[in-house]
């Protein structure tokens, strides 16, 4: 039987299984911690920093933090909310995020977080980087303009032999996430769909598919992201 630990979440005492991921434990307790690079079922990475919370007063990413006895967690201070807003603004300024022409608009987690934090324009200068759209793969399109390098696809999408079908290329601010031509050669439609779904933005798209949910009925058209946990 799993052992439970007691911890404090925004001033309330909560129970969680020992070693549980803080994001998941908070969700169980009805507290939404925004995430972007985190995806249920794949190893956490702490890449985007948007889930940063104060653990015993120290900023830490909640996706890579495990719950331990007597931990004191603050999820929503004005500083943390301002920090999260900045993370969203930086991502919008860093890539080329043209929502009106994006197939993922309305279902995009980055856009949904911008709605949640009421981001209108970025306080950082838009960089307009020159990035490519790769369309050589028979089933997938990789639009580097929209990629936020969260690495969810690298961590979560593997072929039948267990090999990752996405991989890094280059380094630093030139980093790109590419489709591996060898390991992705024989992927089926189901895996292609999973790759598209695991991408929080519109950087991975299935060919021959798009705009199949009308405006007004998309995931984040009616209620903000996280409102299933906390409005």
């Amino acid at each position: 039987m799993a052992s439970f630990v007691r911890f404090t979440l925004d001033g309330k005492t909560c129970l969680a299984e020992e070693g549980a991921q803080l994001v998941a434990a908070a969700r169980e307790a009805g507290v939404y911690i925004p995430t972007l690079c985190n995806y249920p079922g794949i190893p956490p990475k702490g890449a985007c920093r948007i889930c940063t919370v104060l653990v015993n007063g120290i900023p830490q990413t909640a996706c890579t933090t495990k719950v331990v006895e007597d931990m004191n967690v603050a999820t929503t201070t004005p500083e943390l909310e301002a920090f999260r807003r900045s993370v969203v603004e930086i991502l919008f300024a860093e890539g080329n995020h043209l929502c009106p022409s994006c197939e993922r608009s309305g279902n995009c987690e980055l856009q949904a977080l911008a709605y949640r934090y009421r981001v209108t324009v970025s306080n950082f200068p838009y960089l307009f980087p020159k990035r490519d759209v790769e369309a050589w793969h028979p089933k997938l399109v990789k639009d580097h303009n929209r990629c936020i390098q969260c690495k969810r696809c690298i961590r979560g999408i593997h072929n039948a032999a267990g090999h990752a079908i996405f991989a890094f290329g280059k380094r630093g601010d030139k980093v790109v996430i590419n489709i591996d031509p060898d390991t992705s050669k024989d992927i089926d439609d189901e895996l292609a769909q999973r790759a598209m779904d695991i991408c929080p933005v519109g950087a991975i798209l299935r060919k021959g598919k798009g705009f199949d949910v009308p405006i007004g009925r998309r995931t984040y058209d009616r209620a903000p992201i996280g409102s299933e946990v906390r409005p």
């Binding site: 043209l98 929502c99 009106p100 709605y115 009421r118 307009f128 020159k130 058209d221 009616r222 209620a223």
Partner: protein, 187 residues
């Protein structure tokens, strides 16, 4: 509102935009009758007043700056309007015109006037338009807030009529804007 209260004065313009945001403004439908009770329009494509004849309370800016004329108009708006509101994706971050921002200007002009497939034999003199009467194209498209101070931003492509209406009414009546989630969208 009493009949004697002076109407707030509103100016609007479309810079590097498609006039879609102005169309969305007209999408307020019959509320336009309420609007003309609240405000008087000055420089605007809606009434075709070309230059400012009064100091304005609110300036609505559609589109970003892609040429020197856009910068001139935007600067005039800043001078003559107490409050400037950028509305629409193009005004906020450059939008569709900003797709050219990843390319050098020369490549864009060469493609448009010399090398593009639709040019065909249409430009035998191989001329890139440069008449002094034409506005000069900027090196890239600039969001409005990178050129002048902008007070408020309304996102959307176009911003929904409800968002424009709610924001405009809040601005001219001084009441706080009750921002609705369903009208705050980027597409």
């Amino acid at each position: 509102m009493s009949a004697k209260a002076p109407k707030k004065i509103v100016a609007t313009t479309s810079l590097a935009g498609c006039f879609g945001c102005h169309m969305s403004l007209l999408d307020i439908d019959e509320r336009i009758l309420d609007l003309i009770e609240l405000v008087e329009f000055n420089k605007s494509p809606l009434d075709d007043i070309k230059t400012f004849t009064k100091e304005c309370d609110v300036g609505l800016i559609e589109g970003g700056c892609c040429n020197d004329e856009n910068v001139h108009v935007l600067t005039e708006f800043r001078k003559h309007c107490k409050t400037l509101v950028a509305f629409g994706e193009c005004a906020l971050m450059g939008g569709l015109p900003a797709l050219r921002n990843v390319l050098p200007l020369k490549e864009c002009l060469d493609e448009a006037y010399l090398d593009g497939p639709t040019v065909a034999d249409g430009n035998p003199g191989k001329i890139i338009p440069h008449d002094p009467d034409l506005p000069k194209i900027l090196n890239r498209v600039y969001p409005c807030h990178e050129v002048v101070k902008i007070d408020y931003f309304l996102p959307g492509c176009p911003p929904s009529a409800d968002l424009i209406w709610d924001a405009l009414v809040a601005l001219v009546t001084g009441k706080e804007l009750d921002l609705q989630y369903r009208s705050f969208k980027f597409d």
